[in-house]
Symmetry: C2
């Protein structure tokens, strides 16, 4: 007897073999056709039972959500929905699902809103949509590792709890083992953090970049892939308090090579998904098409999900300097007609997502890499250009998503770096170890950060970031 996952059996042609299938009932029609899913694929196995020879008490326990074991014969199916089915010899109920209780959950067959599904994040994984999204997420994760390992990058686990808050990428969460209801105090009444677990104040990391740089100076080329945190009170469809970030860092690599790397990397992982998630992506494409029909015409996608993915893999990203982009925006219709919320008046303006979308979706109609931004709107560690006013930064902008990658060549000159830190009031003593990388064998190096959930959103077509991570953490929500 073949005990195999449904994904495997559906691709099998070992007809007339006896098989065992274990999974959960998705539907039961005409007292005859059980659709069983085991999570290995979005597709169900149709199991056809002989209801006349099946006990009534078993039949009535074959309900949506129940776990069952079926033994039977694998056959070519006569139905149009599937090529293979199981002619059932015996069916066993492993775990019931009381239909009255199921009614109160998302397991009931009616369509639910994504909002409602979020409230049952522990059950939504049993729906087609979330099964597909999370399988794609898993495959994309592996694609990330595969790409870097094939290219001889070393994976580095940078710390989650950090004593440094110098990067200043946003609000941080505090980590403490003190009894905060009754913390130990110093004589002056302030909290005595020397008594905390780490002997000082600690936070959750906002980025592994600075630690990653120290490792790139030893291992040559590294990448991180781990959780990062922002305590910003942004209750939007684009923000999470906890999200996964990928941050490669490469010694002896300048900004142009960094752009090449980012573009090659994104194309690889999207291609990987196209190759390894065919069924799930086809389902998600159809899902998006259906969603689109409910939207006003101007909000509908002009490409199918699969066409959009292929477009990214098959075309070069458009590389545009910040200065060029400002010219384009200044002369654009929405700017002249004051349709932008923030009118672009002069060089130096920080770009808003409306501007990024215009460039990507209307002007270039392709992914765009913007580079050489004004120094004063970017972080201290980015390399100053010879013009003294721009830095070797780059952002990759994607249709529908906006910024998916932010990167830069790093300032490798100790004195320039120290000056910039001084200007921004960043404590040299706290970053002594970071400065050491510029003291001992400094070199041109670059890296970028890619928000993994943004990538999953792009590939799956899901519009709310909360729907591409298993258990989203957002303001007022840390359920499960």
């Amino acid at each position: 007897m073949i005990k195999a996952k449904i994904a495997e059996l559906l691709n099998s042609n070992q007809f007339l073999q006896e098989v065992e299938v274990k999974g959960w009932v998705r539907s039961f029609r005409s007292n005859r056709f059980i659709a069983v899913n085991d999570g290995s694929t979005i597709n169900n196995m149709q199991c056809v039972i002989d209801f006349e020879n099946t006990k009534e008490e078993v039949l009535k326990r074959i309900t949506v959500g129940a776990a069952i074991k079926v033994v039977g014969t694998l056959k070519e199916s006569l139905g149009s929905q599937q090529s293979v089915e199981v002619e059932v010899k015996s069916v066993e109920i492993l775990g019931d699902a009381n239909p009255e209780e199921v009614k109160l959950t998302i397991l009931s067959p009616k369509r639910h809103s994504l909002e409602f599904l979020r409230e049952q994040a522990h059950l939504r994984i049993r729906t087609n949509t979330f099964g597909a999204v999370m399988r794609v997420r898993s495959k994309l994760s592996f694609a990330v590792h595969s790409y870097f390992q094939q290219n001889n990058f070393h994976y580095v686990h940078t710390p989650i709890i950090t004593g440094s808050d110098a990067e200043g990428a946003g609000e941080m969460f505090r980590v403490t083992a003190l009894d905060i209801k009754n913390p130990p105090k110093n004589e002056d009444g302030s909290i005595d953090f020397k008594k905390d677990f780490f002997g000082k104040e600690t936070n959750l990391t906002v980025s592994g970049q600075l630690e990653g740089e120290t490792y790139a100076m030893g291992l040559g080329q590294i990448y991180t892939f781990g959780p990062t945190f922002r305590a910003e009170n942004s209750n939007t469809s684009r923000h999470l308090a906890e999200f996964w970030m990928i941050e490669p860092e490469v010694a002896f690599c300048d900004l142009d090579q960094n752009m090449d790397l980012a573009e090659d990397f994104i194309k690889y992982v999207v291609n990987y998904a196209l190759k390894h998630c065919k069924d799930d992506l086809e389902f998600l494409a159809a899902r998006q098409e259906n969603e689109d029909k409910t939207k006003p015409k101007e909000e509908r996608s002009d490409m199918s999900l699969l066409d959009k993915l292929k477009f990214v893999t098959e075309n070069n990203f458009k590389r545009v300097s910040y200065t060029e982009a400002i010219e384009i925006l200044k002369n654009s219709k929405p700017n002249k007609k004051k349709k932008f919320q923030y009118i672009i008046e002069e060089w130096g303006a920080d770009l808003q997502s409306e501007h990024e979308r215009f460039l990507v979706e209307k002007h270039f109609k392709s992914p765009v890499i913007l580079f050489d931004y004004p120094a004063n709107i970017k972080a201290f560690y980015m390399r100053l250009n010879e013009d003294g006013k721009t830095v070797r930064a780059m952002d990759i902008l994607f249709p529908g998503i906006g910024e998916i990658v932010g990167g830069s060549q790093r300032e490798e000159r100790l004195e320039v770096l120290k000056e910039k830190m001084k200007a921004l009031d960043i404590d040299e003593e706290e970053l002594w170890w970071y400065l050491d990388t510029r003291r001992f064998g400094t070199c041109v190096h670059s890296g970028f950060g890619l928000g993994f959930e943004r990538l999953v959103q792009f590939v799956t077509g899901m519009t709310n970031i909360r729907d591409v991570i298993p258990f989203p953490r957002t303001p007022q929500n840390a359920e499960f």
Copy 2:
């Protein structure tokens, strides 16, 4: 001209080709032989310069730790240390390393203690030992993903910040965005956690298992690989406050299959390291051999590192019930002669690491899987056996490491689970979502947790867990 990593060039036979090498100086002998390392391999590229035709000012800047670019011709080496070398045409200093400053760091050529290296965790990656350890760590990470993906497991990112503290696996770190120097208060003077970021008290996760179980009930077989945290004040060579854990969870899988999975998994990843980390493991084996020479005879390893790894991959793990183990221990010499710190007197005793080490290192002389532990020394979610007093738990014990895996078949029966939670005073309401997995299509399922750092320790032979993670977090230490 070939621009390639040293790892690649050392395996090349494209002799007489012009090559470019960028890396850091490890040593400079006789004003002639520069050993350059670029992190791609533990091996250096010997670059032979013509010092008579190299400017004095360049020569004196070729110092340990400096970043240089060398262009020259790839040749067969006459030296016995390497098969390939570069006959240098030009050398360029990219980043200096002032020898006076280098003296104060671990980059200076003298041997340093591992303790001292830990204080310079940002530089220790440039030493042979840590380069080797971290390359092996990276490869092992990829082996973990490769194993599960090849076997059709789905990777799940379970949440790091959790509102649940029900698992009770140990002390937790609090996560908060409140101003803890001046927190908002309720009328009764207690802290108003409703005003905290998530609207309630939150902690750092100690395990993704419970959330992982909900996903296994949808996707069939999943694994996690992420950071977990313990706020235990254990200042030992075996404990970290922040460490990475791997937790597979499989639906329709019993304890025997779970043991099979864990054993197969460990053998796969160790084999992967043997295959893909040959040079680094040979270096680490030699390193261990040297270390051993400084130890008293009874503390020395009786096998070389490589033999120990091969032993694990080539032999079956010994499977022993807790009850059998207690009998063995009761009748053992150290127990009878009261050499154990904790004498085993009767069934029900919790095993200490001295007992585990005796079983693994003295009695069986092989990895051991202990199973069917007394219920009252194990967690609430483990499946009760028919005897009513043991649970379907298993621990895998490794020589030198102790427990490397802890797993169990999960209690899938709603009523039994609720009873156990009640007895342990675990709030049903807080785990409503966990109990739902038993309400809707429950099934036999199992999983385990493997501490990734313990695995890296085993494979690299490093005896202190702080030396196998880039930036260790321990009591009083969250530097970098």
